[in-house]
């Protein structure tokens, strides 16, 4: 049964990555809560927080920034770096904070529901 366990390992990874991707917007909002950050800072914060086990693709993040700006949950502005590339900073709005709060609450509720559902032993 060696290959089978190998397969489950791969599937578990994919499962986690999928789950993570579904929460990209909320994760980005969470990173921005404390202060304004630019793309690479956000990427690094997420990468470091997972210990490098999973990473959210940069492409996914760029799409998330665009979506968040369009929905008014985040504001973008260009930094005033004089040399190198100018950085695009993101700032969370009041709407963003409200959505973040709500999503975290929803996740906490869902998590406990799923935990108890996965623990069902049948009758």
């Amino acid at each position: 049964m060696q290959p089978a366990s190998d397969l489950t390992g791969g599937k578990a990874d994919a499962f986690a990555a999928d789950l993570l991707r579904g929460h990209t917007d909320t994760i980005v909002l969470g990173v921005l809560r404390a202060r304004d950050r630019y793309g690479f800072e956000i990427y690094k914060a997420i990468r470091d927080a997972t210990g490098g086990d999973y990473e959210i693709k940069e492409a996914t993040l760029y799409a998330a920034y665009r979506r968040l700006v369009k929905d008014g949950l985040v504001e973008a502005y260009w930094g005033d770096e004089s040399q190198g590339g100018r950085r695009k900073y993101y700032r969370i709005t009041d709407a963003g904070r409200a959505v973040y709060r709500r999503n975290v609450d929803a996740w906490v509720a869902t998590r406990s529901t799923i935990d108890s559902l996965l623990d069902l032993k049948g009758s």
Binding site: E58, A59, R66, E81, G85, A95, A98
Partner: protein
Amino acid sequence: MTNISVHRLLDDAFAGIAVTPDVQDLKEEIRANLLDRVAELTAQGVGADDAARRAVDELGDVRALVAEATADDGARSPAAPGPAVVDAAAAAARQRVPVRPRYVVGVIVASVVILLAFVPLIWILSLTAERAEAGWVPLALAAPYLAGLGVGWIVAASLRRETAAHYAMPWRRAAAYGCATALLAAGAAGGTVSAVLFARPSAAFQLGLPLVVAGGAWLAYLLATQTNRRKPWVLELEREHAQVGNRFEHDPVAAARFGIYTVVVWGVTAAVFLAVGFTAGWLWALTAVLLGFAAQMLLLARMLFGGEGRSAHRVRPVP
């Protein structure tokens, strides 16, 4: 050195992608992030060229990235109301947030406090001079400041409330708005009352102005740093409206026609106004102005917002 390499690789990655302002914007954003990633890699001991190549490789398929990041900004006919307007009504209904009883009770209590704050003053003013007791004066002077508390509470509670169009404000910020308006209202009420009681306006400046200035400055700061609180569907609706409003810009012929019709409408209105005024009386002549206004609004509605129906009609093939 590294920089040149990254810039060239970035240009290569973007080669063949149509350069819209949106894409240019994305490219510049990616450039700054790549430079940071390269710096990180070289700090770890990776060679300059390798670092540049790895940073760009990590981006993956740039074409897909651009497609994903700039998705649904696609060209839509400017005048045609998109699905968002139709959706917006549904969204508004879906997003309806019931008013909490606690909020209603709070507003009523706060309103009562505001009214009570002026009772001592009214009591004193309603008495004749000889019956007025000196004991009421300090109360009448102090009570109006309570009105500020009531106003502040209503402002903060209203900002904390989620509505169909707005998200709830974070409580700390809502509290700051509440305190600022409380200062402002307390200063205004207290100052006005003392000016009335002492029968000299300078009392208002001494007792009210400091609070008004402090509250006003705080409020100005809060308003200047205010970020978006509207829900996505409201923003979408605003974008739609901006596009509809642009119709005359996109269609100069319609704009010119609108101008001519406007001149005709008001020319006729003026003529009728004068004719009726001299014959039937000037009061009746106002009817002409009303009719002219109605005609103008009708014209505006037809030409600015009625475009879609007409052009759809025109396109329909003749059977």
